[in-house]
Amino acid sequence: MTPDNVVVLEGVTKRFATHTAVSDLSLVVPRGSIYGLLGPNGAGKTTTIRMILSIIVPDEGAITLFGATDSGRDVSGRIGYLPEERGLYRKMRVGDLLVFLAETKGITRGVARAEARRWLEQLGLGAWEHQKLDALSKGMQQKVQFISTVLHRPDLVILDEAFAGLDPVNAQVMKDTVVSLARSGTTVVFSTHVMEHAEKLCDAICIIARGRKIVDGRLADVRRGHGGRHVIVAVEQGVGSAERVLTDRALVAKADTYGQYAELEVAPGADPHRILEALLAAGSRVTRFEIAEPTLHKIFIDKVGADTASALANPGGDHA
């Protein structure tokens, strides 16, 4: 029997010596979904993932995996885990390493050997099976680590900061992989601090900050639930030139400006078209005007406050 929810957290809390990493966190990961665990650095994402995997034990609360209370380690054969910090035994041969890691998941030697070979062929690493990992480029090592995550055909794949440190090409490969895993029925949980990734991929999300849940649920529901009407505007001279309109509280309740564009929350009772008129009247050459649902980014900033979100506003070039 496969339950509808693969991962359920209820009131999970984890305290460390100096701070509380995760506080009273509850979330539900539906089967077959792509689930995004979102939040700035230090929000408690990795701690949450480690608790799901029973690498560390929560102080309070309950974690249910595949509908049972067996620990993550007991069902580790059904879980694939790619940690944030990548790394493997550098002195081991690629084939032996994959077989060893699969064996720790309970796969027998023969099967593991055959699967490893199949995967290596598939990702163009067939010739490297008997080479030491040292001899591989960093990109190839990442591929090997990815193989080790999925070789045992897990039902649940957990990717911590899946896109961190990937160049745009590899980031695209990773996105495609996540989608194809989900299509084959695998549940994927990934954490990221880059909202754009989550926006494109996720069926459901949970945003956490400072160890506390901000909002969770299906992505569409989260957006709808955030309420308010939103407008995205871009002005040829830059949105700074429309300062007067954007600060007009009769029209705009709140404006987040990013230089090239701004995301506005329309003031209660105001008509979005009045904003456009005001902009044109002020002499702005409008290049974009879109009445939209709030972006995850916007939701996050509204819920958490700009200071906490500063890590998100500047996600860093390599995470784009």
Binding site: A17, R73, T104
Partner: protein, 424 residues
């Protein structure tokens, strides 16, 4: 259990495959032979000819007889130089020139005082060699002794008979049975046992530490801990690395046994005559000694490997780990530093204490066992203490390990460690 086996096999196979293992397996015995053989060879080489002059200023020509008896002893060539008392310093000066030219090694000045008061003088370039001086003083003492007896009217034949040198043959009694091992043989055995235990425990213990640090720095430990219990990983690692040690000992033991079995052939190949009966260089190794050795190696290795693993888990780089491991290494070095003391007096208080205290007993007890009879009660209490310490240390170490492998950044202080052990 199955998962632990997977870890054991990886640790074992990956190590046995390395060049390091092959080199150390081949070089280990060579080094050990060198350790034992080099001093012996040096001793033989040191016995080169010493040319000595005897300046005889006696009225009785005692110097002639002394020179003759020195000349009879193999490494020394002595010549008699009768000199009037007034010209002693003159003769000494010209001999000193010869010493400078390395024609002569030294010279003895003998006057009538020699026999009367036992006062002689030796000047030479080799006075700082204790071995040379010991040979010389023994020979001179003998000659003076003979001279005095002769003067007292003792018959020359009687003196010759009294001078027949002593030949003390030493045989080790073990297990209420006289073995074929000589005293020198059991000393060598104890020495080899010490070397194997010390090097074995240290090298393989440090190996475990390196393995922990490698998994920690490469961060693979996080993946491993998601499918293995920390204790499974730790125990598998220690057992796997220990297996490599036992495997290496087995190879050495087998080669050693074959070598001892065929020792006549070996001696013939080395161009040596076969000494009568068993030889000093090849002590008899009773099965009980092998058993004691293996038992203490395993327990000692587990004890130290657990400590090394905890140290590895506390630190985040190989270099840092080596520094932090100094404390553990000190514990291991202690019985080695005191080894000569143990061998000189295997039943003394220090030897007994060191062989019962858990952290020194893995080395001290087998060394003592090889050197002397150890009462069963002492073996029992030593093993009991060691087992208790092993349990306690493993308990603490595995808790430090469990927390440490996931902790990065600043090295924990003592207070942090206590908290780790409490909360793990």
């Amino acid at each position: 259990m199955r998962k632990m086996w997977v870890v054991i096999r990886r640790e074992f196979v990956e190590r046995v495959r390395t060049k390091w293992f092959i080199i150390s397996t081949v070089l280990g015995p060579l080094l050990m032979v060198a350790f034992v053989a080099v001093p012996l060879i040096m001793a033989r080489k040191g016995a080169q000819e010493r040319v000595i002059g005897v300046i005889d200023a006696t009225s009785t020509e005692f110097g002639r007889r002394l020179a003759a008896s020195l000349d009879r002893a193999p490494p020394i060539k002595a010549s008699w130089l009768p000199t009037p008392v007034a010209e002693i310093e003159q003769a000494a000066d010209s001999l000193a020139v010869l010493i400078g030219a390395k024609v002569v090694d030294g010279f003895m000045i003998v006057s009538d005082e020699a026999v009367d008061d036992g006062k002689l003088e030796y000047r030479g370039s080799n006075v700082s060699s204790p071995r040379d001086m010991q040979i010389l003083s023994t020979l001179v003492e003998e000659a003076v002794f003979t001279e005095r007896l002769g003067r007292a009217g003792v018959d020359a034949a009687l003196v010759r008979q009294a001078k027949i040198p002593l030949q003390l043959r030493t045989l080790k009694v073990a297990g209420a049975r006289t073995t074929a091992s000589s005293g020198e043989g059991s000393f060598i055995l104890a020495y080899v046992i010490w070397l194997l235990l010390y090097m074995g425990i240290l090298l393989y213990g440090v190996n475990v530490m390196g393995s922990v640090v490698e998994e920690k720095t490469s961060r693979i430990v996080e993946v491993l801990i998601s499918s293995l219990k920390p204790f499974q990983l730790l125990a598998g690692k220690i057992i796997g690395v220990g297996g490599v040690g036992l495997f290496q000992f087995a190879i050495w033991g087998l080669c050693g046994a074959v070598l001892i079995d065929r020792r006549e052939l070996v001696f013939r190949l080395l161009g040596e005559s076969v000494p009568g009966g068993s030889t000093a260089a090849f002590p008899e190794v009773p099965l009980a000694t092998v058993a004691v050795f293996l038992l203490y190696f395993l327990l000692g290795y587990f004890l130290y490997a657990a400590m090394f693993a905890a140290v590895g888990a506390m630190t985040s780089s190989e270099a840092e780990a080596r520094q932090a491991a100094n404390f553990v290494v000190m514990l291991l070095v202690l019985p080695s530093v005191l080894m000569i003391g143990i061998l000189n007096d295997p039943d003394g208080t220090m030897a007994i204490a060191l062989s019962i205290v858990p952290f020194t007993s893995p080395i001290a007890m087998p060394v003592r066992w090889a050197a002397a009879e150890v009462p069963a009660t002492e073996i029992m209490s030593s093993l009991g203490a060691l087992a208790a310490a092993l349990l306690a240390v493993t308990w603490v170490a595995s808790r430090i390990y469990r927390v440490g492998i996931l902790a990065y950044g600043k090295r924990p202080g003592l207070r942090d460690l206590v908290r780790w052990v409490r909360t793990a």
